[in-house]
């Protein structure tokens, strides 16, 4: 089928719908016209951009379409973002020393065990684990020295951000 819609065009439509909804919503806000002047320009630009992307997508030769890769990275993005947020929560609640050491050593132990299972490493597992645990300790100490001892970072216990 000629001129079928690609991911580009679909994202263009989604952006247009979201921006147009925001633009309409701005009229129901309890704000003065000058306060919503720039926000409306912003939303209008996103909507216009979405339409332009859609038009370009429809006019483009399907064989030449520049499709983004279809690799499913969403679980990885969610996992990494969650792990980083969890570390942010952990260092404020269980301390920078404990949390940094736990996060680094857990990650490296998992990577080493997986490499061992897949037999991609020539180094004995015990030596590798020893080296990485030492590295985790050293990095933890450096982070503690820099952020807590030198910069005197204040860390109150806050259950949620």
């Amino acid at each position: 089928m000629k001129n079928r819609l690609s991911s580009n065009g679909i994202v263009g439509i989604i952006l247009f719908v979201l921006a147009a909804a925001g633009f309409i919503w701005s009229y129901s806000m309890n704000l003065r016209p000058l306060e919503v002047f720039i926000p409306r320009i912003a939303l209008g630009l996103i909507a216009a951009g979405g339409i332009l992307v859609l038009i370009k997508d429809l006019l483009e030769d399907p064989e030449k379409k520049d499709l983004p890769p279809r690799e499913n990275l969403l679980p990885y993005i969610a996992g990494i973002v969650l792990a980083m947020w969890l570390y942010g929560w952990a260092f404020r609640n269980i301390g920078i020393l404990t949390s940094t050491f736990i996060f680094l050593s857990l990650w490296w132990i998992w990577v080493s065990l997986r490499d061992e299972k897949a037999q991609v490493s020539n180094q004995p597992l015990a030596i590798k684990l020893g080296k990485l645990t030492g590295a985790a300790l050293l990095i933890t100490a450096c982070i503690q020295l820099l952020f807590i001892e030198l910069l005197g970072m204040h860390m109150p216990t806050t259950p949620l951000p």
Partner: protein, 503 residues
């Protein structure tokens, strides 16, 4: 008027062992801390500020100026090595700098970053010394109408980025505008688009946004690679030990000089915009970067060109000397760092204002000499640290990237001690990943995000002053010139892009 006696006194104070040691210490702190994402160099400057109560002027300012200059360069180290800007001013360096590292030319890129930083710094210092009075006289003529026109010129550069792919460029600029207006209205305090989140009322901070936007997509890519493709180091071609020992080719003089367009325009942009209160190093480097993208003959510009690194870094560092111009002539701090330096000078008993140069000539000459003397130390210490950082990039991804991820999280918290900054950084990272996946240009977003608050504040101030009369924006010769420049720039860039597109 030049005063020989004051210069002699300043010379003896600055070229003493104690001052030199304080400058060296400052540069070392600046480079090291500037290279840690989130720890912008304003933090170490704020930390050493209390020393101004106990140390004399030349030692305090030596330490602070060293930290400022070292930090401004330090931000580029991680930008080039890991695609993670250490300071917001180094964000424009990421594109070409990190691409060069991925091409195995990390050392060249780092050296270009260092040499162009020093070039921008030195020229900006010389300009400060000779033009402090004339440039300072023009700066206060910029009222809200003139500043609106000036920021419109900056916004017109969005066209440069969008001209190649208008649809995606416009989306990127729109998202930049939108992110910039989230939070309390600058004039009325009305709450805009916070979606009920109290933490968003303060708006979105620049540093978490830029660090997340640029760093997180790299972290995701690298960690995804580690998880899905566990490969033997030997399979990848080189033994890690050998890889660490391997010497990379350095930058040649010919390569450095061939980036003369970037070096020249970067210096001019950084010095001129840096002399105005508001724009800051990030806007200066992005402005210069986008202008040079139009005239550069290097086909790899934006994809791994030394000229891109040179432009961004010269403009970034050229703001160092220029920041002192409004400070020494009118007592106006041009940036948050300038405000900290100003506080140190006031604590040292130097009141800043139109009479500073006349009443405290010796102190002003001391500052000039300190600014110039900090440059060779920045060069020497930078040269010593470059091999260390270029080797760090060869550490296996499974070891290096988790550490970078954790340091970013702590750095974002250390910035304001606000846990929500971590959330902003992570959300910006997801947006950054979407930009990469959807192939949206990042330039329009950053430019729009930086300029929008400045543009909106001045535009609304001007419109209030003029009581709705639009002609107010075109009243003075300065604003007329700036509007003409904006129109010419838009027409020039659009027609140029069209021509190159047709070819």
């Amino acid at each position: 008027m030049f005063e020989m006696d004051a210069m002699r006194e300043a010379f003896y104070m600055v070229f003493a062992l104690d001052t030199v040691l304080f400058i060296m210490l400052g540069v070392l702190i600046g480079i090291s801390v500037g290279a840690i994402p989130g720890l912008a160099h304003s933090l170490p400057i704020a930390l050493v500020l209390p020393f101004s109560f106990v140390l004399p002027l030349h030692q305090t300012m030596g330490l602070l100026i060293g930290t400022y200059k070292g930090g401004t360069f330090g931000g580029s180290i991680t930008a080039i090595s890991f695609g993670t800007p250490g300071t917001s001013g180094a964000a424009a360096t990421v594109k070409d700098g990190h691409a060069l590292t991925q091409l195995g030319k990390g050392k060249k890129a780092l050296q270009m970053g260092l040499y162009s930083s020093i070039t921008g710094d030195v020229i900006s210092d010389i300009v400060l010394i000779f033009l402090v009075v004339p440039i300072g006289a023009v700066a206060p003529r910029f009222g809200p109408a003139e500043l609106t026109a000036l920021y419109f010129v900056a916004l017109s550069l969005v066209v440069v980025f969008t001209a190649q792919n208008p649809g995606k460029g416009i989306i990127s600029a729109g998202i930049g505008f939108f992110l910039a207006i989230i939070g309390r209205d600058i004039l009325t305090g009305g709450i805009r688009f916070t979606f009920g989140l109290r933490q968003l009322e303060a708006g979105i901070e620049l540093v978490p946004l830029l660090v997340g936007f640029f760093a997180l997509p790299n972290i995701i890519k690298e960690i995804h690679g580690v998880i899905t493709k566990p490969t033997k180091p030997e399979v990848s071609g080189e033994d890690p030990k050998e890889l660490m020992k391997k010497k990379e080719e350095g930058l040649t003089f010919k390569e450095f000089i061939s980036s003369w367009r970037g070096l020249g325009l970067g210096t001019i942009t950084g010095t001129l915009l840096g002399a105005l209160p508001g724009p800051g190093a990030t806007l200066c480097s992005y402005t210069a970067y986008s202008v040079v993208s139009q005239i550069s003959k290097d086909e790899n510009y934006g994809k791994g060109a030394l000229e891109g690194v040179a432009t961004a870094e010269t403009a970034n560092n050229a703001t160092c000397g220029a920041t002192f111009i409004p400070m020494l002539t009118f007592g106006i701090p041009g940036s948050s760092i300038a405000a900290l330096l100003m506080a140190a000078l006031i604590m040292e008993g130097i009141p800043l204002g139109p009479r500073t140069v006349v009443d405290h000539t010796e102190a002003v000459y001391t500052l000039f000499l300190l600014l110039i003397l900090a440059n060779p130390f920045n060069l020497i210490l930078g040269k010593l640290l470059i091999p260390v950082y270029s080797k760090l990039t060869r550490i296996p991804a499974s070891v290096l990237w988790p550490v970078i991820a954790l340091v970013i999280v702590i750095g974002m918290y250390a910035l304001n001690h606000r846990p929500f900054d971590i959330v902003i950084c992570l959300a910006a990272g997801v947006i950054g990943y979407f930009f990469k996946w959807f192939k949206l240009p990042d330039g329009p977003l950053v430019l729009a995000f930086l300029v929008t608050p400045l543009f909106e504040a001045n535009f609304r101030q001007a419109i209030t002053m003029a009581r709705g009369d639009i002609t107010f924006f075109f009243g003075s010769p300065i604003s007329q010139t700036l509007w003409i420049v904006a129109i010419i720039a838009i027409v020039f860039f659009v027609t140029r892009r069209r021509k190159s597109g047709q070819q």
